[in-house]
């Protein structure tokens, strides 16, 4: 049933990437338990705008858990206290009247804060561009069943492809490692026949781009798995490690004369 809450917010405010930031306290009054967390912030922002101040800047787009934009750490957990839930899907009924809520941006060197709660996740885009694709010669579309895919591989590929690139895994990881994201992107192609030709080059290129972005390294704490709104598992990381080890053991430079022309 709908109730109303009065909350205290501690929000990270930062003018731009160059400025120092700080926590600022706001009161969120008469918040319906049926609002989403982002709607609660909208209400608080209206009040801030009425006072002639700058509203709290936060990323959002789909507001239905599929775009991965709504990045913020709520009371020490990316996307807040509910499992498998993005901030936009988080309802205010998850909080109690009188609560103090601390809201911070993702913290990682490769995700610089642009403003308040908004970080630049361009590092993820560059990782995708380094190998998260398949090369398809264009032409007439192929018959749909020309490439058999086992039901299990198709399911595993779909599970991995559920990753929305939100970055919660990096935010939650004590080492700010991007391994869960990376493994999802490497694996959803690796499970399918279309991903095979570039499979081993892909994993090497994507790991090297991840390292170039200066993400941390995995120490198997499992915080990413617990934070992931899409249920990507640690097993996916192990699968990528297998591919990486195999790729490193079998890598050969492109010197074959057949490749020269």
């Amino acid at each position: 049933m709908e109730k109303h809450l009065n909350l205290t917010l501690q929000v990270w405010r930062q003018k731009d990437a160059m400025s120092e930031g700080e926590f600022v306290e706001y009161q969120a009054k008469h918040i319906s338990t049926e609002m989403s967390f982002l709607e609660m912030l909208d209400v608080v922002n209206e009040e801030i705008i009425r006072k002639g101040e700058d509203p709290i800047a936060f990323d959002h787009d789909c507001r239905e858990g599929i775009c991965g934009m709504c990045s913020m750490v709520i009371n020490g957990r990316p996307h807040g206290p509910k499992e498998r839930t993005t901030t936009c899907q988080l309802h205010m009924r998850s909080f109690d009247d009188g609560d103090t809520i601390t809201i911070e941006p993702w913290r990682a060197k490769p995700f610089p804060v642009i403003r308040d709660l908004i970080v630049d996740r361009g590092a993820f885009d560059r990782i995708i561009a380094s190998g998260g694709f398949i090369s398809v010669p264009t032409g007439a579309p192929q018959d749909a069943n020309a490439l058999p895919v086992s039901k299990q591989n198709s399911d595993l590929a779909m599970d991995a492809a559920a990753c929305i690139g939100c970055g919660a895994c990096v935010a939650a990881c004590p080492n700010a490692s991007a391994m869960l994201f990376l493994s999802a992107k490497v694996s959803h192609l690796g499970y399918l026949p279309q991903g095979q030709p570039e499979r081993y080059g892909r994993v090497r290129n994507m790991v090297s781009q991840m390292d170039a972005e200066a993400f941390g390294t995995c120490t198997n704490h499992g915080e990413c798995e617990a934070a992931c709104p899409k249920g990507i598992t640690l097993e996916t990381i192990a699968r990528m490690n297998r591919d990486y080890i195999k790729a490193s053991l079998t890598y050969r430079p492109e010197i074959a004369s057949g490749g020269a022309g």
């Binding site: 490692s177 090497r204 993400f215 198997n220 097993e235 990381i237 192990a238």
Partner: protein, 231 residues
């Protein structure tokens, strides 16, 4: 703002060194970890001869020193030293990358799945490093031993543990080894990619059983000496 260079290249064209990559250094950590873990397990088993009396233990020690015409022990030492050095190198370099990756921390953080063991790896590791040096000075070289007799392993073992603070230090070090091994053994299966729903529970249980066994038996040695069971 830090923007890394885009490394667009055809599949496989870039060739970053294995040992430079994060996953590669993790693999070094895992493989050297397996060597060290195999060593502590065999070491624990070998010391069981202490319960069989002076003759058995000294005989075992002599075997270690004379096997393969005295070469065996040097091969072991070389492998272990290499493993320890690579392990420490990988640990240090990975830890530095991890610290650099989060220059600004959180005000609030609620951990969900990290364990005491996983979070203390670098500290238990450092303590193990100190312990290894002490242990060598104590029972291999005898430098810090009150009454060291070269070639009489049993005597050195018993008189060594009769010093209470030394025994206490060994016990604390073994508890650290327990934390380190418990996360480490599970962790290397993950790093090397041995994850599968069918075996996931087994991986945890394997780490637990092994850790309890190694640490339990190792701790029993100083306790047995202090309580006079071994004398």
């Amino acid at each position: 703002m830090s923007v890394a260079e885009q490394t667009l290249a055809g599949a496989g064209e870039r060739s970053p060194g294995f040992m430079d990559s994060s996953v590669g250094r993790k693999v070094v950590m895992a493989i050297t970890g397996i060597v060290l873990w195999g060593f502590v397990t065999v070491h624990m088993l070998g010391n069981l001869t202490a319960y069989m009396g002076a003759e058995a233990m000294n005989h075992y020690a002599e075997f270690l020193h004379t096997m393969i015409h005295g070469m065996g022990i040097w091969v072991f030492r070389a492998v272990l030293l290499t493993a320890v050095l690579l392990h420490i190198w990988a640990a240090t370099s990975l830890t530095l990358s991890n610290h650099a990756a989060r220059p600004v921390g959180y005000r609030k953080q609620q951990r969900q799945s990290a364990t005491w063991a996983s979070r203390s790896m670098r500290w238990t590791g450092v303590l193990l490093g100190i312990f290894i040096v002490f242990h060598l000075l104590h029972l291999t070289f005898g430098t810090v031993h009150p009454d060291f007799i070269k070639g009489d392993a049993y005597h050195n073992f018993v008189t060594g543990f009769q010093v209470p603070w030394v025994s206490a230090f060994y016990i604390v070090a073994q508890l650290c080894l327990g934390l380190h091994m418990w996360h480490g053994v599970w962790s290397f299966t993950q790093t090397l990619g041995w994850a599968h729903p069918r075996y996931n529970a087994l991986r945890r249980n394997f780490a637990t059983v092994l850790t309890v066994l190694v640490v339990g038996v190792n701790i029993s040695y100083p306790i047995a000496v202090l309580t006079g069971i071994i004398h």
